[in-house]
Subunit: 258 residues, 2 copies
DNA sequence: CGCCGACTTGACACCAATCAAGATAAGTGG
DNA sequence: CCACTTATCTTGATTGGTGTCAAGTCGGCG
């Protein structure tokens, strides 16, 4: 059990057009440095809480395996999923001594728990290490800004296209040879991530399918038919023509129409 | 001119409910530390570019006076304003050696320009200073997450209420005695910040006015009539009743629930 | 006074939230 | 294994929200 898994090539939120290089995740060396003060947490199943908004923050966490959802509830009670954390991501940085987000597993996961006090000592003792962590936080900051762009400017279909495109760079979820994307989340989580309702998320899939961009095999397994079309959709204006995306309709879908 | 101005009590984006304490801005000591390697830039007017998306990033910037808008253009050409920077805020952190956002003055401003190379040296030489900067970035990260909440869950009226409430804590803009708020931005900037169209921003003001929450004296000067009402609006559901604001339920929104 | 940009308002069409009702998949107990 | 319950997902209908075009108003400045 002292194997240390390979670091994934890119962070979850990175877009296709701006590939996120390895240095934006914590490097193997940095992770090893952190592991020396870590406690391993193993989770067998999804929906298990790791930390919660408002708790005193004595630990930060490093994802080693699996997917974690980072969320916060608005005062209205509405949940917003701020990000999905994948291996190499850091989470649980305190603000005023407390967590400001909640984190739950989405699937089985292995996570390293790091005492924040000792983290700080390490950072003070090794400024280069601290600088690397700083750059990691800056990177996460950029990812948050990209989500501001998405939520501020794109309609639901475009947001879904962005979400899908983000996943195509992660081999763990996308089987490139067969063009199969395995979504790690259900429609509820997806809706809370996109800032919409589950029904709208389902409708967005339906429309992408009607335009020949993807095909739903099951609700969690999507065949990707037209990456260029997805990118065009994402880049287009919010109020774009909906009718026929671009002229092509895959042979499998000719509706004799009505 | 070696006076060092008082640090504002709170950062721009902080909400009323979660007051942002002084330590989230750079402290006076930290700012002085930075000033030792800084070049002062003075801007007499708004709309002057400071740095632009894609440029090689050799400097970071510290706002001393005035308001700066941080923006990015989507591939569709649509501009999104990610944040407004106020005194004590840091901006221009590079990603991959380049700026990823653009910054322009909104009003007259004084800004300290810091060579990024020397900044890094300073951070390596003084880990405590670096840790303070890290916490500052973490705080900005939180602010970005709060914007994700706002954009993902709130309608235009609520976003405008959030925007207004954010400003009420800044004495530079809000004359508490006379309940007068002086907006530093025009409707275009406001719309790009809220993720909507200028027309919708105007309509949102009209509706807040029709509900007796605010009154427009000029397009940039707003009289605040009902702070509680604004907070209720912000906290409410996205699809809430608009008609009469004031048959309000006390904010003790206990989750009695069904 | 007249121009021009910023702002506002109206009209209209499209988007998306909500309620409601199936349809499908996943458990659960017999 | 099947019948049943349940959760998840999908689709339809309806209504309110909001982007867009267009027209009009206001204010500042020459």
């Amino acid at each position: 059990m002292n194997r240390w898994p390979e670091i994934r090539a890119r962070s979850f939120d990175g877009s296709i057009d701006r590939p996120v290089a390895l240095e934006n995740l914590l490097s193997r060396k940095e992770q090893e440095q952190l592991r020396s003060i870590a406690t391993v947490l193993e989770f067998n199943r999804g929906k298990t809480p790791i930390f919660s908004d408002g708790e005193e923050a004595r630990f930060v966490y490093l994802v080693d395996e699996g997917v974690i959802r980072i969320s916060r509830c608005a005062e209205s009670g509405q949940r917003q999923i701020l990000a999905f954390s994948v291996p190499g991501d850091l989470m649980g940085l305190p603000d005023g001594g407390r967590y400001v987000n909640s984190a739950e597993t989405v699937s089985a996961a292995r996570i390293y728990r790091l005492p924040w006090q000792r983290m700080q000592q390490m950072m003070l003792a090794d400024p280069q290490f601290q600088l690397n962590l700083l750059m990691k936080v800056v990177h996460d900051f950029r990812q948050a800004q990209m989500r501001i762009m998405t939520l501020g400017q794109q309609n639901i279909y475009q947001r879904l296209a962005s979400f899908i495109l983000d996943f195509l760079g992660i081999p763990e979820f996308y089987d490139e040879k067969r063009s199969l994307l395995k979504l790690p989340v259900n429609r509820f989580d997806l809706a809370d991530y996109l800032g919409t309702a589950p029904e709208s998320a389902a409708r967005a899939f339906a429309r992408l399918e009607s335009q020949g961009l993807v095909r739903r095999l099951t609700s969690r397994t999507i065949e990707i038919l037209d990456i260029d079309g997805l990118q065009l959709l994402r880049r287009g204006p919010r109020r774009g023509h909906s009718a026929e995306t671009h002229d092509r309709i895959p042979p499998s879908l000719q509706e004799h129409n009505a």
